[in-house]
């Protein structure tokens, strides 16, 4: 088993005819993801991937025609907010937004709106979700991870790939890897994913990869201490990051003394979480 995505995922790709959208559609299809439709406004009626995937003008039309139940968004930042609303209004229950660079006020509105709907958003500014051997939604390389029982949740991209790859080298498999994204306001937070892993019978232990900025890791620590039975191993990036400077990700910034890596590490350790000193230490800390 896995969380969020699996063999029943019927994927819609928003922005399918763009460079990035098309490239990753090909990758996802090659991985075995069931991609049922694409959307590019103005290109409805076309087909991509050698005529295998129909393109629609709108999400509503795509859902009506293909019963898509998950959407992944590759459209540019200035159109991505609208793409999220469109998917949500079309009744798609799971939206994965890869796009980086969405204004934070847009995301506050999006999050507020989605909280009132039965709709989960992963991201934005995230690598997506991978359930090894079953389904890949997003851009996480498929060949760096094998199926197994470790759940991974991360605010990062390549750092997560590192961890997946390090686990694979040690023959440790993954149930699902969820990239929740590096923006200050995300559709899904650590706690949301941790509680899914806690309930997923096939996930036995969890790796949490956090970074400076915000207090999401601290709240995750509290959740782990009070509500989780499965062991959690963590890594927090950015101990050497200076305050007041954005470290690549829009959300990775220490502001007003808040968001320090040290505080997050301490909170996690106090919650009984083993915190790795560097990414390659993670496999060693996982209980056998």
């Amino acid at each position: 088993m896995s969380i969020l995505i699996d063999q029943d995922t019927r994927l819609l790709v928003q922005g399918i005819t763009g460079n990035e959208g098309l490239f990753h559609t090909r990758q996802m299809a090659a991985y075995g993801t069931n991609i049922v439709a694409g959307v590019t406004p103005g290109k409805g009626g076309e087909w991509v991937l050698d005529g295998k995937i129909p393109v629609f003008d709108s999400v509503r039309l795509a859902v009506e025609a293909t019963r898509a139940n998950t959407s992944v968004i590759f459209v540019p930042a200035r159109f991505a907010t609208d793409a999220i609303f469109e998917a949500a209004d079309a009744g798609i229950p799971l939206i994965v937004c890869i796009t980086e660079g969405i204004p934070v006020q847009d995301m506050m509105c999006v999050r507020h709106y989605l909280d009132q709907k039965k709709c989960r958003l992963i991201g934005p500014n995230c690598p997506g979700v991978l359930s090894p051997g079953k389904c890949k939604v997003g851009i996480i390389p498929g060949d760096i991870s094998i199926p197994g029982h470790v759940g991974i949740v991360s605010r990062s991209g390549t750092l997560t790939y590192e961890v997946l790859y390090a686990l694979k080298l040690r023959h440790i498999g993954v149930s699902t890897c969820v990239g929740i994204g590096g923006d200050p306001i995300s559709g899904t937070n650590f706690i949301d994913v941790l509680s899914m892993f806690e309930e997923d019978p096939h996930t036995e232990q969890v790796v949490l990869i956090g970074e400076i900025g915000g207090t999401d890791e601290e709240r995750a620590a509290e959740f782990i201490a009070t509500r989780m039975t499965k062991p959690v191993v963590a890594f927090i990036a950015g101990q050497t990051a200076p305050p007041g400077k954005r470290m690549g990700h829009a959300g990775a910034i220490v502001e007003g003394g808040s968001g320090l890596a040290q505080d997050k590490i301490r909170a996690l350790q106090e919650a009984g979480v083993k915190v790795a000193r560097h990414p390659e230490e993670i496999p060693d800390l996982l209980p056998v």
Binding site: P103, I139, L159, G182, I185, G238, T240, A241, A252
Partner: protein
């Protein structure tokens, strides 16, 4: 991006928030002219994007145009916390009865905007938050509904503002909300909002930070950017779509991915090294991009060695290696280069780089150790 006080206040004014009469000057002569036009006692204020201007002597009263000119000349010759003062704001001096803080920002944890007011205006609000948090009244705003009158009134009541000023305060709060939303600010702050002895509310000082992600909606702000506030290398990096932050150490870092870049800095520190920078070269890593990154990195004279850490995922490591080799030919660095490639086709990538006479590493730990040693002169 941060806006200067004078820019923020001009924007406030556009949204109906009363500000003092005033103008910005680049020379002492201009300052004198403005003071003459205003015809009253003025304040000369250094326009630099850094706190503590007052303590540094960057804000001074001038009783007449001649004194304004003298003071402006002095302030325009200053550097405040390493930043040159290129402009001064000449504002009419206000007669202050009391000082209020009023600000709107994004509350990440609550995922909503929050408006904050305090009767302890005019001082560092983060200091107030630390020492007397009860003096800050906070109200969260529904982003779809916007600020409601009653919320602004609750703030006014919360800071014990005399009732006769509630109506004006509510108007200022609405103006600030409009400023915040329509400008895509992540911070819009009036500190202090003063109550003058003539019973007016006046935004005496203002601060705005604009969401960089929203600049595509606000081309007008691009022209307002003050490049002084950033290291020249950071400005240069932005041109290439690279994310670069200068640090104090001697090991230059080039990494694909922000999280991995931070983790790389951290592991250097863990093994006794000191990273010279944060640098995310993003996905792909073609020769042009790598070359630009290398140039920027090497422009820092402190850099004694360079660590390249690239995870090959969608992009294969052999492609990345070719990109690196080509970039090296162009830039020709004179310091030792440690390269770690991992992921898809890593072995082939490492072989290509070995031919190019670079030091390669397999694990992150190995790479960090080699880089630390190289920086100490023990390698290369």
């Amino acid at each position: 991006m941060k806006l200067h006080e004078y820019q923020s206040k001009q924007i406030f004014s556009r949204y109906g928030i009363p500000i003092p009469r005033g103008k910005v000057a680049s020379t002492a002569q201009e300052a004198r002219q403005i003071a003459e036009e205003l015809g009253v006692m003025v304040v000369v204020k250094a326009q630099v994007l850094v706190g503590g201007r007052g303590k540094a002597g960057g804000i001074r009263l001038a009783k007449d145009p001649i004194e304004a000119e003298e003071i402006a000349a002095k302030i325009l010759a200053m550097q405040i916390k390493d930043l040159p003062v290129r402009k001064v704001l000449i504002d009419e001096a206000a007669s202050i009865h009391s000082e209020i803080y009023l600000g709107i920002t994004n509350d990440r944890a609550a995922r909503r905007p929050v408006i904050m007011a305090s009767s302890a205006g005019g001082v560092d609000i983060e200091e107030v938050a630390r020492t007397t948090p009860e003096r800050i009244i906070k109200v969260h705003i529904d982003p779809l509904l916007g600020l409601r009158d009653y919320q602004a009134r609750d703030l006014a009541a919360g800071i014990d503002l005399p009732r006769e000023h509630w109506r004006n305060f509510i108007a200022v709060a609405h103006g600030l909300w409009k400023t915040y939303t329509e400008c895509d600010a992540t911070l819009a702050e009036i500190n202090p909002l003063v109550l003058t002895t003539e019973n007016r509310l006046l935004a005496l000082d203002g601060k705005m930070i604009i969401d960089d992600n929203a600049l595509f909606r606000h081309p007008e702000f691009s022209e307002m950017r003050d490049l002084d506030v950033e290291a020249p290398a950071e400005v240069e990096a932005r041109k290439y779509g690279l994310s670069y932050v200068k640090l104090d150490g001697d090991i230059g870092c080039m990494v694909n991915g922000a999280g991995l870049a931070m983790a790389t800095m951290d592991i250097l520190k863990l093994f006794g090294g000191n990273p010279a920078n944060f640098l995310d070269i993003g996905g792909g890593a073609n020769a042009e991009r790598v070359a630009a990154a290398l140039r920027i990195l090497l422009s820092d004279p402190n850099v004694r060695t360079v660590l390249l850490n690239v995870f090959g995922g969608i992009t294969r490591c052999d492609e990345v290696a070719h990109g690196i080799v080509n970039a090296m030919k162009e830039v020709k660095p004179k310091v030792p280069m440690i390269v770690r490639l991992v992921g898809t086709n890593a072995e082939e990538g490492r072989r290509i780089l070995a031919d190019a006479q670079m030091i390669t590493a397999e694990t992150l730990v190995e790479a960090a150790q080699k880089a630390v040693a190289a920086a100490r002169g023990g390698l290369g």
